[in-house]
């Protein structure tokens, strides 16, 4: 009986969590203009999405979204990795302070970040557009990259950088040949995370995209839905994005799990050797 309740509780929870997403996916395979009407199975929305059946504005929004996500993720991966290396070299107390400061933007509500950046750009007299959106996305993505690179640095033997210098490598060579390969997995995870965060973002984008009609998917969908009825093709697009993000998440988690397992095996090995 107890088992029955706990199982049904879990099922209920999962249904609540995933029903909205699943409904979108299901209704992407029907032609009805109104969400909620099932008019028989059809892949028409997908065909239409890719054969120009949607407005140019939507196409632009998609292009913008991926361009912004790619640039923002690339730049924040570079900034975040460099920052993580710097933070890792700090002495204990300073490191704790900087880590705390790094976590504030993560905990800060997006809407606040958006308003603050908006005010900042306005007060500095910067015309808002692509550049400001990208800068804003870099700003909120970088702390996540720091968080995903940091564990790699912490578990790295601190002497290997010195060993490289000792063997004649300049600091740059040591960084490229020794440190970079060590933190690369963290950087890749950080990049993927930043990329999905950027695609996903609405609150920050809406405050920083200016008045020249720059739109990303999220702002386009928002405007579209408010104008009365969602463009049907968006159901198909949402489903595609959902699948892509899901795949990326699976990759990130799989990598993290594999790393954890490898670290564990190493620890076990070392223990075995020292016992021998």
């Amino acid at each position: 009986m107890k088992k029955f309740f706990s199982t049904s509780y879990l099922v209920l929870l999962l249904v609540m969590l995933y029903a909205p997403i699943i409904i979108i996916a299901i209704f992407s395979f029907t032609e009805s203009k109104v969400l909620g009407n099932w008019t028989g199975f059809s892949a028409e929305l997908y065909t239409s999405l890719f054969s120009g059946g949607v407005s140019d504005r939507l196409i632009d929004a998609i292009k913008n979204t991926f361009l912004i996500a790619f640039v923002a993720a690339t730049v924040s991966t570079l900034l975040g990795s460099v920052a993580a290396i710097g933070i890792n070299d700090l002495r204990y107390r300073k490191r704790r302070v900087v880590n705390f400061v790094n976590n504030i933007p993560i905990l800060n509500p997006d809407i606040i970040t958006g308003i603050s950046l908006f005010l900042l750009f306005v007060s500095l007299g910067i015309t808002q557009g692509h550049a400001t959106v990208i800068l804003a996305h870099i700003a909120f993505c970088t702390p996540y990259v720091v968080l995903s690179v940091m564990p790699r640095l912490v578990q790295m033997n601190p002497n290997i950088y010195e060993a490289a210098l000792d063997l004649g490598a300049t600091p740059m060579q040591a960084m490229r040949r020794v440190i970079l390969p060590e933190i690369r997995p963290g950087m890749i995870s950080g990049f993927i995370l930043a990329f999905t965060l950027s695609i996903d973002d609405f609150a920050v984008t809406i405050f920083t995209n200016g008045t020249d009609g720059l739109e990303t998917l999220s702002t386009f969908i928002y405007a579209d839905a408010r104008k009365g009825g969602l463009t049907p093709e968006l159901r198909a697009l949402s489903t595609i994005i959902l699948v892509v993000v899901l795949l990326l998440l699976v990759v990130v988690n799989y990598r993290a799990a594999r790393q954890a397992k490898r670290a564990e095996e190493q620890a076990k090995q070392i223990k075995n050797y020292s016992r021998r």
Partner: protein, 463 residues
């Protein structure tokens, strides 16, 4: 010619971190081709000294010359030295071959030559055929061999080794010690080796540098250091020893354990307080109590393989450690003798505590971060900077740090036959030296009390 040259000259190096002085005006010369070991307890500054030679840290002041050239501010990759780290520090993303070839690749050495040299280095450390192994799959000992090969393949003028064997088990450590010694002989380059293991230092070195608290205590050959320790710290740190309070009566005569002994040391003056060291194997123990210099009763006897280790309590209440091939049962009354040449006299570093403080009023003085009551002081005005002296035995220690007026942590314990000589580090990094018969443990936190009458307040003599 090169035999007498100094490959490394360390001149007046001081290294301080914001909260601590790690090296205090250290000067040291390393001869070309020698095996020099820096020996000391953890936290004595030995690793910092090695890191300064390698260039990983920079000194607060002072100069380092390698091969006659000033290297004080030269970055590590331009120094003619290579380092072997305690935790191997192999590059996990390279295999064994690429790890060893790392330095040669950077120097753009011809690929063919790299291969020859890597193979030779691997052979030297007994790791032939391991080229293509992943370094993570190797045992600790094998990883350290690869790390050594990676360093020596570059033919450095000096090989720096930072406790390279500390992470290995005893058997492996012994094997590697012999191999290192052999390697030093074959390569003919200078080795600077850091360790806290005194046995390892005695086994391997041509020269030993004993360090404590950021200061070099003694430099000498292993036999010098063992037979002629220059102070109680060295005597206690290297090997087993009986260290006792003594008085130098005059040249050749020293008094300890309540009687006078003939000795060979001279030049200490007359009636001077000194320390004497007698190694346990240098005390002769005999059944015939008539012929003995002094007598006692055996308290314990432990078999140690080659010899027996005995603790004997003398009739005057001193405990002496003795090593002998013969076993004397506990309870046996025995006689003991010490040859004049086996008594080693050392100058005392201090005969009482002297700390800096401030006179609060006529009967109170501020020392060790707290206010202590003292005997009335008449000729010094309140608020003056003063020195306060008190004897080793005048300090009373309490179990609970809160029971004392000030408190500290026990950092060093020296047994002196009938009492313990403790070094207590207070909260503000001041040292208080205490003689006590009570047994305390290292790192115990204790309260410090001093009787008002024991505190002697003197005006600070400004230099």
């Amino acid at each position: 010619m090169t035999k007498t040259n100094h490959i490394i000259e360390i001149c007046n190096i001081t290294k301080s971190f914001p909260d601590k002085v790690v090296l205090d005006d250290v000067s040291l010369n390393v001869k070309q081709g020698e095996f020099l070991t820096i020996l000391g307890p953890s936290g004595c500054g030995k690793t910092t000294l090695l890191r300064l030679i390698a260039g990983f840290n920079s000194a607060s002041s002072g100069k380092i010359l390698i091969d006659g050239k000033d290297m004080t501010s030269v970055p590590p990759h331009q120094r003619p030295v290579n380092t072997v780290f305690q935790r191997y520090a192999l590059f996990p993303n390279y295999n064994v071959y690429d790890n060893i070839a790392f330095g040669l690749n950077l120097k753009k050495v011809d690929k063919k030559e790299i291969e020859v040299r890597v193979k030779r280095a691997l052979k030297m450390v007994g790791m032939t055929d391991y080229e293509h192994r992943d370094v993570q799959s190797l045992s600790g000992g094998q990883q350290q061999r690869v790390a050594i090969a990676r360093a020596i393949v570059n033919r450095p003028q000096v090989l720096l080794l930072d406790e390279p064997l500390a992470a290995l088990d005893l058997k492996m450590r012994k094997d590697m010690q012999m191999e290192l010694k052999e390697m030093h002989r074959t390569l003919g380059i200078t080795f600077v080796y850091v360790t806290h293991d005194q046995e390892e230092a005695l086994t391997l070195s041509d020269t030993i540098v004993v360090m404590n608290e950021g200061v070099i205590q003694q430099v000498g050959t292993p036999t010098d250091i063992y037979n002629e320790p220059c102070n109680a710290f060295v005597a206690d740190f290297i090997g087993e020893s009986n260290i006792l309070n003594a008085t130098m009566i005059r040249d050749g005569v020293v008094e300890f354990m309540g009687r006078e002994f003939e000795c060979v040391d001279t030049g200490f003056g007359e009636n001077q307080p000194v320390d004497v060291v007698v190694r346990p194997e240098d005390v002769y123990i005999i059944r015939n109590t008539e012929a003995a210099m002094f007598r006692g009763v055996v308290r314990s006897c432990t078999f140690k393989g080659v010899h027996y280790e005995m603790f004997v309590e003398t009739l005057d209440g001193y405990e002496i450690q003795i090593q002998d091939y013969n076993c004397f049962e506990p309870g046996t009354e025995v006689g003991m003798m010490i040859k004049p040449a086996d008594i080693h006299v050392m100058r005392k570093e201090r005969t009482e505590n002297r700390v800096e403080g401030k006179l609060v009023d006529a009967t109170h003085v501020e020392i060790l971060g707290e206010t202590f009551e003292c005997a009335p002081v008449e000729d010094i005005e309140s608020g003056a900077e003063v020195d306060v002296c008190f004897g080793f035995s005048d300090v009373e220690l309490t179990d609970d740090p809160d029971d004392g007026i000030s408190w500290g942590t026990i950092r060093f314990i020296l047994y002196k036959g009938d009492r313990y000589h403790l070094t207590i580090r207070t909260d503000d990094d001041e040292d208080v030296f205490v003689d006590t018969r009570d047994v305390w443990e290292d790192l115990d936190e204790v309260g410090i009390k001093i009787a008002p009458s024991a505190l002697r307040v003197v005006r600070r003599n400004n230099q």
